[in-house]
Symmetry: D2
Subunit: 269 residues, 4 copies
Amino acid sequence: MKIGKATQPHTAICTSNADTIVVRGADLCRDLIGHLSFTEYFHFLLTGRRASPAAVAVLDATLVAIAEHGLVPSVQASRMTLAASPEVLQGAVAAGILGCGSVILGASENAGQLFHQVQARAAGQDLDAAAAAVLGEYVAAGRAIPGYGHPQHKARDPRVARLFEVAAEQGIDLRYVRIAEALERAIAPALGKDLRLNVSAAIPAVLLGIGFPLQALKGVPILARTAGLIAHLSEELQSSIGFALSYQASRSVRYDGELPEGFEPAPGH
Amino acid sequence: MKIGKATQPHTAICTSNADTIVVRGADLCRDLIGHLSFTEYFHFLLTGRRASPAAVAVLDATLVAIAEHGLVPSVQASRMTLAASPEVLQGAVAAGILGCGSVILGASENAGQLFHQVQARAAGQDLDAAAAAVLGEYVAAGRAIPGYGHPQHKARDPRVARLFEVAAEQGIDLRYVRIAEALERAIAPALGKDLRLNVSAAIPAVLLGIGFPLQALKGVPILARTAGLIAHLSEELQSSIGFALSYQASRSVRYDGELPEGFEPAPGH
Amino acid sequence: MKIGKATQPHTAICTSNADTIVVRGADLCRDLIGHLSFTEYFHFLLTGRRASPAAVAVLDATLVAIAEHGLVPSVQASRMTLAASPEVLQGAVAAGILGCGSVILGASENAGQLFHQVQARAAGQDLDAAAAAVLGEYVAAGRAIPGYGHPQHKARDPRVARLFEVAAEQGIDLRYVRIAEALERAIAPALGKDLRLNVSAAIPAVLLGIGFPLQALKGVPILARTAGLIAHLSEELQSSIGFALSYQASRSVRYDGELPEGFEPAPGH
Amino acid sequence: MKIGKATQPHTAICTSNADTIVVRGADLCRDLIGHLSFTEYFHFLLTGRRASPAAVAVLDATLVAIAEHGLVPSVQASRMTLAASPEVLQGAVAAGILGCGSVILGASENAGQLFHQVQARAAGQDLDAAAAAVLGEYVAAGRAIPGYGHPQHKARDPRVARLFEVAAEQGIDLRYVRIAEALERAIAPALGKDLRLNVSAAIPAVLLGIGFPLQALKGVPILARTAGLIAHLSEELQSSIGFALSYQASRSVRYDGELPEGFEPAPGH
């Protein structure tokens, strides 16, 4: 096989020699360490562009909003994994991140794509009409509406208003916030139930307003949750509850399969 | 089984009701989103304490220092995983994080434990003597010295001086920086080779000086690398090199096992 | 929240008391250990039914066929992960399994779904017409045809003929083998290129013939590859090549981003 | 850098050309598919040697013994992960495998190392004395005794007797079974509590008797559990309990951190 276009790997992120590490064209030690916050660096690493102070404030707000929400399933999975393997922090973090799927934290990216469709459809015209039209297509295709509805925060996820407030304070482009709200208004008529915006829709609504790349949106909840997981795993190392969580869950389990003759269930089952 | 102390799970990180999410005693929406940077929030999530501006600057510097160093093995593994499963960003991030092991990024935590031992041994006395004594025990036990030596940066990893500079500028406690340097001086006499401080030792040297918890040190490279991985995976989605990397590596592989009679190796192998 | 239908977990796979472990209604120690092969047990665990000898032979053949194909990307990712974290075998296995995605080993399940569609369309009538019709829909929708074409085995993946031979010898239902071959004949006219059956299509073609559940098809390559990964990781522990693979791949990488003034690339880059 | 011994990757497991896949010197399609069971193939892949029928029977027995034990923590973690990301089977399997750590399934390998030490100490002499001596060293060093004691099966894990029975029936070398039992007798005097053999010790006790490689012991529970995980994940896809498990566990959680003034806990917490 020849080495051609397809088989020569290339990257524009980082290179180095014995003395210098170059990231996105900058000298890591001279230009970046001690000059950029981690959030600014994340934006720079990802896009190659320095973020404005307003963009950094909004990106920080989304990372803070989504990093932690208690003992959600992925955190439980992560703590159970550390309890079984306490010397392998990276394994427990990985198990927790694997729970950032389409149903839970992955909705950010899908909501971002939904907003993009409404934006394309509106083409500068009426957002409500465009929102209703795109929503109608989702309903017709039997697709779930990503980023609306929350099992606990029925009225409205409190993080939504706060993220929109930060976005307004920072003076960023609020186009996608308006699209998100237009969709929220269109949902009750279209679906017959009043699903309100949750944090997974608020995140792309504000991040698309700072020009954050659509295909990297899922990275925001993943990075944020990594911070939350590390806090939980640090607590787990000091006071382990991973097996207690599993024990409590298993107490409620009903076995509904077959049994051999004479088998007596364990007490409490 | 009764529910007792051991089996009732408890946590001090987060709780919530329908309107309010509480993190470490603060109201997430009112007190934290829009007020704390992601780095400040990471510190607060982990420790329950607000970090001083100097501590935040140092923590930011370590996260920026370790987030990215090009197509290292864990990044290659992550990009190969995304190439095989492009719709599963969380799986590729998890694969990359699993490479934060004892040999690569895990050295931060082990170096931190080494510094703690020297600190305990010195007890306010001579650091060089304490460093030599602890080092002697490592050598006698055949243990590797975590955080010293680098395959590419032989002279000294350039991130070390920069991190120490930031620590000095911020006026934090430099005790562990001095311990790290005392160990560096003690290594050549003890080991017969001149291994210099690398970034994995510089990180705990400055973070222990801001009171960062020892058992969470490994979380710093893991969180930082997650940002680097997301940047690489975003590039991978736009221009995939995962299979090209694998192809290039496999071209160099020599098969040294048995062969059935008449087998002709593929051209180029 | 009330505990209702939706919130009480239940399972039909396994229960136990202090003396007896029950799996799918059988006593594990009395009825299964020493009586069933691992492959028979896998089938029983998954379906609750004992497999016929012919079904076991076919399932064994598929597991043997797909377990190993050298230093493919997921094996490289797994060996790099173990090199970085040699004490964490489970982490390296997990990293390797994460590479069983849609592009690589996940094609088995997608091919199985394609065959089911052809079977439903044919409804006892002409398979070639049904295959051409379903294929036409895939082409119209711009969907890839899962399980056809192989980068190395252009003529035809040699595992295909062997799996079909085993299926015929064992006298199982060959309906889905015929569907797979009807699709193979239909591809050249429909796509204008002659993509031949690969192992990822041959596996569902024979497994659907033993009544293996469609939604568990992806489990077959995952289980099989776990065996291959363990063999590679055992070799890696004795003679590590994880970093050498990464080094060889990185030698070929071209950096095409910006550079700071005066930066001299490392020799060989 | 020159390509030398250290940097040229090599493997003795598999190579291929366009027509033939070679595994451990055999032609995969001609010699292995349809001729070896998956268990025989796993042994061959790992060691390069064909296993005797007795060795296969014992290896099958261990894989069947350890594959499944209900909704243990790693299975719960895996099902929660699939519930969050139902289209990513490989991610949920990976999360489950990450729970095969030192505390849970990793004990097999550690028990095997313990048996090796007793075997070396005995050197053909009295096993009870050697067992007591090695055990004394573990106790003196504060090390846990891997493979003894079980939270549910207090009397003795029922899988132990069955595995030893299969080993005796198959006529394999029972040396390590005797070592495991000598340790069991020595534990009550040494530790003051009567910890009985569990399945994680029985597995190496019989596998070392068939010459199974010590450094690959951990692969046996990992491979076996992958089969159990696939069965659970197939059930999860048909009837999801992942979130119900998490909900049940979280009902029992007590928040013991600080609260902002006026915060009212959610009902039931």
